[in-house]
Amino acid sequence: MRRAALAIGALALLGWPWVAPSYFVFLASLIVVNAIVAIGLNLLSGYTNQLSFGHAGFLAVGAYTAAILATHWPGAPVPVTLLAAAIVTALVGLALGVPCLRLEGLYLAMATLAFGFVVVEAILNLDGLTRGNDGLRVPPARLGAWALAGDVERYYLVLLVGAVMVWAALNLARTRTGRALLAIRESEIAAQASGVHLARYRTLAFVISALYTGVAGGLFAFVVGFLSPDAFDVFLSVDFVAMIIIGGLGSVPGSVAGAAVLTVLHDSLAGLQNYRPLIFGAILIASMLFMPGGIASAARRISAMAGYPDSGPPSRPTIQGDHA
């Protein structure tokens, strides 16, 4: 049953460019990119209770790293550019994660918010490299002599990388590290008592989260083809938070679902430019009031009603305030 569903899903994803017009192929690439960020953010927020409003900043670091590398080294193969984006962003995540160890709840949210602003200012000021407000045109991703210039080629690149990232995230929960992170989520004190090095694993979560977002940033640069600092404002960070809230905290499939819902929503409301944030805000409030736990827990409830055994994480994780 599960296998069949997975196989059908994989076939649908692979066949998508043959049935959909090119714009929807682009949109699908964007969904996968956002899903990678949402998974990364969820590893941080859903697994270790650390809320971040700065993931647009990480995305920008990854995107600009990939774009600058591809500009200055025209033949750079795409695995190298993506790896560079991942490593640079992970290092930035480490640099931010270590000092942020002392913060929790609201304070952490605000420090990461500040980080997002500082990244945008840095992009504006490093205009020798980033071309500041003029924006940076990204050359197509290359694989040897082959330039991935079309929407379809880029879609398959994004899909491949996305599949690897989803697989890694799903398996992370079964590793020693994943279990340590989940233990921290359930109770920091109990985790410490069982020998989980709190500081090390919280930092690690930050680094992994940044790494995911860095890879997504690299892909984003190639998919969109043009970078400018105003694309990475605080509202993008808010979107990422909304994705994991609507999708479901601590759930990998939930992250993907949340990313898909929000990306499609953003796109379908593009004609209603003025009303978009209005509708968007209303959805955010309604999902908080009426669907806590997001799509993931709603899906679990439905499948439980249909008689399937519960397969997801048992309880809805909560992010504690600083005064818990």
């Binding site: 000092p99 304070y107 500082v118 959805i283 409030i285 908080m288 009031l289 005064h323 818990a324």
Partner: protein, 292 residues
């Protein structure tokens, strides 16, 4: 740089700082009652200032009346939001309420754009624009006006919190909700009162700052600096909010004189990160110990 020019910069920094302090106070009022951060505070400020401005455009009323209208609009808005939305999420985690206020801020900003477009509008000022000379120092009347009006408002708040039943009830709820309830305080009424009071303080700050930064649907972003001011002083403390606001306003204005001028917009965030790292409890606050 002459001393006179330096004093001018510091005074205009203090004026900005008082606005930040008012924003910080309004955030802290809500935080102390409901333990949540109100992301929509800036947008509530923006909407009430817009309402005052719309009335002014129609009827050319005196500015004092305009401010009164903005304050009444803010009070109604704060009351309605608390009763219609926040009250229903009272059992939710603080994180959930944070997301709800985030949604609210998106909605209010968008609603203002629909009603009044996203353009910048000049806002009439209480104060003239001819600089006043005090000895060799030239000061902008608007700076002095903002400082004076903010001080008066802070004095009024101090009286409210220390001398009235409602103010004492609010402080009691901030300290210990259960004990406050056992003393016969209606915690729900304190929630309502806190949202109304915070909205009113915000509206006054909005009317004071609008002539300086222009009236626009984007002006609510000032709430971020208000939050930073509150953290600088120690989140949850009113005197801390005032000290933090002053510090932020003055340093933000002084920094471009000694550092590359492009740094001005990053100053608040760099200050936030630094203070969180070296003194997370704020300049005047103390670190809250977490109990097991």
């Amino acid at each position: 740089m002459t001393t006179a020019a330096l004093i001018h910069v510091v005074v205009s920094g203090l004026a900005t700082g008082f606005i930040y302090a008012l924003m910080a106070i309004s955030l802290v009022i809500i935080y102390n009652a409901t333990r949540t951060l109100n992301f929509a505070q800036g947008e509530m400020l923006m909407i009430s200032t817009f309402v005052g401005w719309a009335v002014y455009q129609r009827a050319k009323l005196p500015l004092a009346v305009v401010m009164l209208i903005a304050v009444v609009a803010a009070a109604l808005l704060g009351w309605a939001i608390e009763r219609a939305i926040i009250r229903h999420a009272i059992a939710a985690t603080h994180f959930d309420v944070l997301i709800i206020t985030l949604g609210l801020s998106l909605m209010l900003r968008s609603a203002a754009g629909v009603a009044w477009t996203h353009d910048d509008f000049p806002f009439p000022s209480f104060f003239g624009d001819r600089p006043m000379a005090v000895g060799p120092v030239r000061l902008a009347p608007v700076s002095l006006g903002i400082i004076g009006a903010s001080l008066a408002l802070m004095a009024a708040l101090w009286v409210l919190f220390t001398r009235t039943r409602l103010g004492r009830a609010m402080r009691a709820v901030a300290q210990n909700q259960r004990a406050a309830r056992l003393m016969g305080i209606s915690v729900e009424r304190v929630y309502s009162a806190s949202w109304v009071l915070a909205a009113v303080v915000g509206a006054i700050a909005g009317v004071l700052i609008a002539p300086v930064i222009f009236l626009s649907s984007k002006m609510g972003i000032v709430v971020i600096n208000g939050f930073i001011a509150a953290v600088l002083g120690g989140f949850g403390s009113m005197p801390g909010a005032v000290v933090g606001g002053m510090l932020l306003g003055v340093i933000e204005n002084l920094a471009p004189l000694y550092l590359p001028s492009s740094i001005k917009h990053s100053v608040p965030f760099i200050m936030l990160i630094v203070i969180l790292l070296i003194r997370p409890g704020g300049v005047v606050g103390r670190v809250a110990r977490r109990k097991v």
